[in-house]
Symmetry: C3
Subunit: 315 residues, 3 copies
């Protein structure tokens, strides 16, 4: 049976732990578990960082890659081939498809037609489930646990795909407390709040980052998108959502700073601090993406990825 990875709802705690243990193993040595296999990275919009991470993951397992950042050209030639037909053709050339698409739901449609595993590498305003997976893997790596956690999520929580997915996955863990730190007009959605309530996750809303920093195990920063607010709102807001050398001091020694990257002004640390302070974890987080994608590809292509029933409670 063909296995796909389309949405974070497929991830149970058990599956995550299995993937993380496999990812830990794959950090060392060279591997050939996907020798003879070919993966296509089919990107309908460019996302170089994500593409390179998947491609390196495949190569480091002994597999091979064919690639296009120009997938729209398939359709353009004749003004009308459906994405489903494209998927059927490409699936006949390869052993696995990594799909990036600008339309929500595209990955699900692709999986329905594909004779080989499809991995969702982001579909519009929909999901980007390997980002959620690498975020959880980073917490697991950095703190050694996925429970008994206090987490601050900071920035644009209304539009942020990463913080939504992370909240969702944390709902599967024990003894979680989330502090949502955002400008008033960029608060996290009610659907997430309802979901967290149902799963007994404690949550608060805050507007000031400094007040929260001393309390948490994880600070998950995201970009305040200047284009989503007035200049005055931005000017008033931004100081509250920037991590600086100064307010970093308030963070517990065992705490960790995460960010999906790329970061801009919401992180204002010197390169030296970034390189030496063990609490700065976001570059290790990016590297974790490589290893957890290796584990995922190994599971999908070597039939170790038991499909979990889609959970109806997903937000």
């Amino acid at each position: 049976m063909v296995q796909h990875f389309i949405e974070s709802q497929q991830l149970t705690l058990n599956l995550m732990f299995s993937l993380f243990q496999r990812a830990d193993q794959l950090r060392h040595g060279t591997h050939e578990v996907l020798k003879g296999k070919v993966m296509a990275t089919l990107f309908y919009e460019p996302s170089t960082r994500t593409r390179l991470s998947f491609e390196s993951a495949m190569l480091k397992l002994g597999g091979q890659v064919i690639t296009t950042e120009n997938a729209k050209e398939f359709a353009a030639v004749v003004k009308g081939e459906s994405m489903e037909d494209t998927i059927r053709v490409i699936a006949s050339y390869v052993d696995c498809i990594v799909l990036r698409h600008f339309e929500e739901g595209a990955a699900k449609k692709a999986a329905a037609m594909s004779t080989v595993p499809v991995v969702n590498a982001g579909d519009g305003r929909g999901q980007h489930p390997t980002q959620a997976l690498l975020d959880m893997y980073t917490i697991y790596r950095e703190l050694g646990r996925l429970d008994h956690l206090k987490i601050a999520m900071v920035g644009d929580l209304a539009n942020g795909r990463t913080t939504r997915s992370l909240s969702y996955l944390l709902g599967k863990c024990e003894d979680i407390e989330i502090m949502f730190v955002s400008p008033p007009h960029l608060k996290v959605g009610d659907d997430i709040k309802d979901y967290l309530n149902k799963h007994h996750v404690i949550w608060h809303e805050e507007t000031n980052l400094d007040a929260v920093l001393p309390l948490v195990d994880i600070v998950y920063l995201t970009r305040i998108q200047r284009e989503r607010m007035s200049s005055i709102d931005y000017f008033n807001a931004k100081g509250n959502y920037i991590l600086t050398q100064k307010n970093l001091q308030a963070l517990k020694p065992t705490a960790r700073v995460l960010h999906p990257l790329p970061h801009v002004e919401e992180i204002d640390l010197s390169m030296e601090v970034e390189q030496t302070d063990p609490r700065v974890a976001y570059f290790r987080q990016a590297q974790n993406g490589l290893y957890v994608r290796m584990a995922l590809l190994d599971f999908l292509l070597n039939q170790k990825f038991e499909e979990q029933p889609t959970q109806a409670d997903a937000p």
Copy 2:
């Protein structure tokens, strides 16, 4: 001696059968017959589907690939390097060049300069011989023979490169009957008709697809190019050249539907029919391109591709 694959005239029946038998073998297992070899895909115009098919073929033989869809840039830098010089440089980096070019005859010019095998992946209005090869391979796979065939070719036969090449190759086979089905102003050229007469191939011209469907072993559909006729001609014509769920019923159970893909409105079948009716062969046809290109690369790089004298009777 360096061997190239530039035009379908190089294909004798014997060579085709050898390639097809090799392609059949290569469908199974993993292969390393091109280990240590590097192929360049040098595309002066994008053709993602063809490029990915060649690249996967090379990788699945244990070879490696370097690629550019940006080959025009070579020339652009200094406004004047000849394609021949580019070929000489690239040939010194790799073991094989797959060339796509917008100018007819480019592949031949490239082969003349190259110290490694050149494969023509389409040169303007010229040839695209691996497409013709995969079409013949599909007939061989689906029907188990390349003789005693009744074939309908449908659509724009005046401009269609694929139907011309296929007619040419069928001229080498025994007991062939071709029905050309096209709007009156898009009929197949006289050169093809002369060639078929000379090779004792029976042919007719028809304008109505429905009348032909019950009679044939193969329906080879191509796109009616709306931009090549007036709206009224198109409106009157199009119903006659579309395969629908209804007229598909008239096709013999053992017959097969082929199409070079991508298809648009000339095929109006549900996805379910496409997936379950064994007569719908065009996705298998696309996949056959992978295997026959594997066989071709193996022959060219491992010196099994004996060059055939170019036949003077080519159209």
Copy 3:
């Protein structure tokens, strides 16, 4: 300790000879010395020829490649990620980065942040040290020595990056005499002249190529950039800086013609002469780029590249 190759100043005579001997070995057989390793080609501006040469080098050593000619997109997404951050992320996916950038000094900045070797594949008006390396390797291959040489450098010597680097490296060799042949307003810079004086290299300036050809062991041609002079200057000048079938006759039988390629009108030889006259060495020179880059990658990734003190006397 991480080793980088950023500027030609790192090349001592000893290191060059070691690289050239390794390059000679790597011309034969297949190799797996970089098996399991992944290289990223991170190009902020396209340079297809250089990129393909590096990529083929990596693949022919058993390594793998991930690639982008679209590296600007990293920054574009959020209008603000620094190149240093991009390097840190990519360095966490791969074992080596080949960087092409439009800004002088970019490679040095990248190396400072990278946890894996960085190779400079050209940074703006700065360096392109693997070009200088392959030029020297070609002299070594063609003449069997790097000393007792008379060399003509021809064309735009004021702006040419390649002739500057080559002059610099020749300054490390014994008994060198350089003839700079250029239009009066495109003479080589005083810094190079000072450097050569300091290193006891004899040099002259000439304006007429024909007078120089019978005297030299190497003619290193470069493009006269028409856009850098008036039409009249160009018309008067160009005849003096073109190698033709006629003036080629004046060249000694053991001499060699080099050119960094692509060439345009400054070389006016028939393809037959280019293919049969052993003095025409510029296509072999391009191929040498492949082998010397293989040697370089082997040295950098397998820790054989001992860093030399940067020499203060670099021009």
